[in-house]
Amino acid sequence: MIREISPGRLLDQAERLGRGTGGRGQPRNGDLRRAVSSAYYALFHAYTLTIVETLVPASPREDQLRLVRPFQHTAIKTVCQAVVGSKPFSSTSAHRPIADDLQSDVRILQICQSFLDLQQRRHQADYDHLADFSRPDTLTVVAEARRAVELLAEIAEINRGRMLFLLISLQTKL
């Protein structure tokens, strides 16, 4: 039996941990940190699943899930940085005009920015003792991840979205 990693379930888990029991205090520090981490992984897995489902929609599910495995966090980050302009591809890169063009779609811009923001928050949540997490901030992170996952499904339908997916695939080392 295949038990896939479901981005939707990860988001639900993140929301549950981020809201807490509804008591007087905020949720426990560990729960807030796990909420942030789960929200990031929901977006990461949504990215890779959407890419494969878009590029090879007719493949058997098991093959799609095998293709998902090699995608690297750094590959997505590299492309996202190029799209938002925080670390553009080199001026001689053949991909630079494509990344520049993708900036004109606000949904793609938002998805890329959210990936960068959430990855950094995940890094803080898992490694930085000094990072502070509150319930409102954590719920914002979860909501941002949820929105980005929704937008991924939207851009899978358009050519610029597929270009983004192709750029990420080309950055991935097998």
């Binding site: 205090g25 905020q26 426990r28 966090h73 938002v84 553009p88 950094q120 409102p136 719920l139």
Partner: protein, 103 residues
């Protein structure tokens, strides 16, 4: 690439710009900036914004995204080619559940 010493004033400049701004229900009271190393070891600017408490559980996502977009535009205008992250912190922070039980 800019050295950390060059990044500090740029971070402070962004923080000064953001201080006092309002994005819908997100009212920024104070901002601190810090140069950090991100997940891949690259330097990045982190802004921590102390904002008015949300009316509900959290702030409206559209307003938060507007804030982040505006900060990104300001960074691009300053030709700041590195990641800028913004963390929101409410003015009033409740104790966390485990802190309450330890008290």
């Amino acid at each position: 690439m800019l050295a950390d010493s060059d990044l500090l004033p740029l971070g402070r400049d962004l923080a000064a710009w953001l201080r006092g701004q309002r994005f819908g229900e997100v009212r920024v009271h104070d901002v601190t900036s810090e140069i950090v190393v991100d997940a891949d070891g690259d330097p990045a600017v982190t802004l921590v914004a102390i904002v008015a408490d949300p009316r509900a559980d959290t702030w409206p996502l559209e307003d938060v995204m507007s804030l982040r977009g505006a900060v990104r535009e300001q960074a691009n205008e300053r030709e700041l080619s590195l990641n800028v992250y913004v963390t929101l912190r409410p003015t009033t922070e409740d104790q966390q559940d485990d802190e309450a039980s330890e008290a």
